[in-house]
Symmetry: D3
Subunit: 231 residues, 6 copies
């Protein structure tokens, strides 16, 4: 694929999705774990928040570039959704209008979407919550949009400060949204699993009152850095 | 009425409220639906948020203009509340202090208020939630206020960017707050009903997998605008 | 104690905590009540929010000064926690990264901590909610931190705009966070109790429809200030 | 006039402007002085800033309501400008795009405009500065706009939190923007003049080292309020 | 080149720069003109501002990815600067610290840099202004940084919401910053020239009092859209 | 002194100022240099900005705690100013009103003040600029204030996130504001001088094209940290 984040008015139909099995394995981890497993990269900015507590989604990205106040392309992207996708909607400029509500959610779900990540606002949040359709947005706003200008579908987009290529894995939960490049899905799932395997034992020891200073053997490094204890 | 948003130190006692039946019909719709039915106008800015999920209120506006850090006029407006009103509190300058808590809510409710919309902060949110007294505010803050300077009651005010005349209908839910001019209440309720009548069929068709592109017949307009599909 | 908010690289082990009985009496009041009882001071800025509704904590402060993107000192402060403490984490510069998650919460709880107040971000909020470990933060973010630079423990810190000395009482609920100087704990609890004793009667009278204007005898002052009633 | 802030798609051609002589008298005062002379009301929010230091403008308002990302109506309002007007541009939702640049400024000036107040962004600020065309905006942004949707001209608008009726006096300088209702222009100029007459003597006495506490006779009130001096 | 925005710890030495002649032609246009000539894309977010009025820069991008509070890589990128470059500094998370001051500016200039675009803070702005070294930043802050963690040089970065590939043309002035993909430099310069050729005549006609409604032949479209004129 | 940041209604008359000679030596350095010389602490948050480019001030702090919308205490603090002081005004809650203008500046200057640092807004900025009276504020606003509630003078305050004790040295320039504890004035001036002595030689070498990587001998540490160079 050779598309820029600047292309306007194109819809790419055939997108290579990340491996399904690797994607589904990633669904079993938290965003924080996966972000650490990738070397502490790939997170969207924390102003994106789930519309209800406990929202969770993992799938392959179909992307859409929208213009402020115009949700026309949300209908175009609906047709490109396949089972297991998460829609990632980027904006060409800051906007908090409500680009998405219960009718679009009904359609997205019918097409197989597992959720929506949008760098703008959404509405009908009570209905979306009742449907259990997970959305991460930067605002909730009843303000409606027009259908007048072209954006693009399945081009690379920048959403909440992070580059998303169509087909990448998008994982989202209460802690935020992380993007795993399609090619890295399997190895990231492995790294996340390794990371988590470590945690059960640590949690048990910490719960028993052991101190991280000892568990992680930090005392020497702290002393070397010059930490002084006073009484 | 011939009052400006600038008048200080006046309380208007007799306010013509929007028609009660029309107001109550509006209560049956969502904020997004009513905002669209009005031609996409009348919304307050989306930084106003309900203090608990699922909050809903619809009533006729009694308005109050407050100064930063001073909630004296909240006691004055309490006396002007009638059954079915929603209090709309505007500020003469930005402030996030907690102007309202459970004692005022007890009083407002006893006077017949259905809720509060305030362009500032509130406190005692756990109690307000337990009471089921709905509030839309721009902040939650324990910071208290003094009772020292005069504002006004039942003058036109600008709340979260929107002009509210006393007697207008104020409708609020999870998606935000919309103001319907008193004279437009009935026709807006009609338009909202017409809009909603359309939606059940659409929802059914979208749920069955039909695409908005076909349902709304957008394909020709998109092609004319120059949309290109790539494989 | 003679430490400044600027000291870097020190850990004070022996901190005089506020009186336990007075601290526990304060736990019975809301933040708004205590803030008023102190003369309307001591509140942290309202951008600090609980990570789940209904969070409540009251304890003696152990403080930690962190640098952006670095949570090393969170492990150092863990060792200084005693039963009944609340950890107060300040930042040397603005940062919304996730400095704290379920492993640290497990450790803090095992050490006796009743909660965390942090002028930055936290993560694993679903787990923290499930654990019932209360946190007030300015952000939720999955973004992890490094362990590379020294801060300090149990020095005076400025958290969300408020000075906190180690050993002060920290009380937090849905309305925000208030700090009571250790020496004032008992008298503040007394003042809060006196304040609350008044409220039950007021609430009953307001619920019965009495107006605050009469209850608080405000009519004369309002008239003197020039308030005019119009019909 | 009987127009609401919600009307879309209308242009009112005949607007009663504030008295020219009174308007020009107001031009001789600062925004702070006029705002005080009105009883401390009428100011736009302080996020509106001049695009260059020393910008100053005073004139009668022609208003325009714009939609985000669309400056079509700026061309419509240009035709309604008369000698001595200031254009006041409000937005139906938050937007920082650059709605105005040197070509429109050339046109506005040719039509007699004395400046622009806009609740959005502008561009070509170097050219505008070179022209000496004063603008107060909430952003500078090179981002361009389309010409696709209707707004309105010469309806009441809310700009930066303040209601502006067409024909009102708009006064702007380094300190911000104040709106004087057309009917109040003359009496406000009188009040401003009275206020300023007082200031020369005060300035002289303060410059000589006299204290405001004595000049304004505040000592008694401060003592009564409980102020304590400690050594 | 096949690098992601996520790579940490790499420095690419050989970067294909945009054509020098095309880059220098672009230097003759304003940011707004070039952004329009590209089809209204490529702009960084408007929160980036020049540190002094009249700042102007155009060159080929050398990019650097920094971590909050750590400017170590600024020294690494200095070595990769060639005559005619503009340094583009992106951050892995939001930070307003002062990453750059007069010593680095001296070094950058000596290496041939024409300016700096940084999604963070800078300091020594009085010296930078005296030197005439142009910088676009999101903050001015005296707060210093450490030199402890690796970022990368000459990888694709996201700066103020826009993807920048090393070698792209970066043009910046009072209106903001625009990025022209290296491959598009010549054609964009052509389009900007064509656009500007049109403007002189328009400016002359507008200055003579002609209305944009006539000059751009908008009246019919406005009427068709439903615009109504009222007296 | 044993005062808290919470005391309301007190004025301390006798404040031990930092040594005059040390204070004046500090005036010769930039804020960035002094902040580094102190070990990278003591800075106020960067949202405080000078009202004109090139503003510079250094003096001993007289502090005042104000309430939102009320500048009464500005007149009280005026009397406590001595030759060589800088007034530091803190707010009990966020507010951007204009607390200070040309009359107060005239008085402050007559009393010997060298400038004002205020965590709120100021007005009359054109006059203040003409007077050359330097101010660092978080906003410019024409909005006036009342004189109704007591704050305090010469108590410890938190201004823009930093604790200031009366008598501390306050140094401010284009880069921001730094606070030097009175007891540290002399040694900080020494450290700043040492720091600056180093810079002339560095600047000369960097200007000659030497790279910081060599000048600061960073290459080995970078390699050890794992930095890889690619062609």
């Amino acid at each position: 694929m050779n598309m820029s984040t600047n292309e306007i008015g194109v819809v790419r139909r055939n997108v290579a999705r990340a491996d399904r099995a690797a994607t589904d394995r990633l669904a079993g981890f938290g965003v924080a774990t996966v972000h650490e497993a990738m070397g502490r990269v790939g997170l969207m900015k924390p102003y994106l928040r789930p519309i209800y507590p406990g929202a969770q989604a993992c799938g392959t990205a179909v992307t859409v570039l929208l213009h402020p106040g115009d949700n026309w392309m949300m209908h175009v992207v609906a047709e490109q959704i396949r089972e297991g996708d998460v829609v990632v909607a980027a904006l060409s400029a800051d906007c908090s209008d409500g680009f998405f509500g219960d009718l679009l959610a009904t359609s997205f779900r019918a097409r197989g979407a597992r959720g929506l990540v949008i760098d703008a606002g959404v509405r009908d949040v009570r209905d979306l919550t009742a449907m259990g359709f997970p959305v991460w947005s930067k605002a909730v706003s009843a303000r409606g949009t027009v259908k007048a200008t072209l954006g693009s579908v399945n081009i690379p987009v920048i959403c909440a400060g992070t580059l998303v290529n169509p087909g990448d894995v998008v994982l989202a939960d209460d802690d935020g949204v992380v993007v795993v490049p399609a090619a890295d899905a399997a190895k990231t799932a492995d790294a996340a699993a390794a990371r988590e395997a470590n945690e059960a034992d640590k949690r048990r020891r910490l719960a028993a009152g052991e101190i991280g200073l000892d568990l992680y053997k930090m005392r020497e490094a702290l002393e070397k850095a010059g930490l002084k204890y006073l009484d």
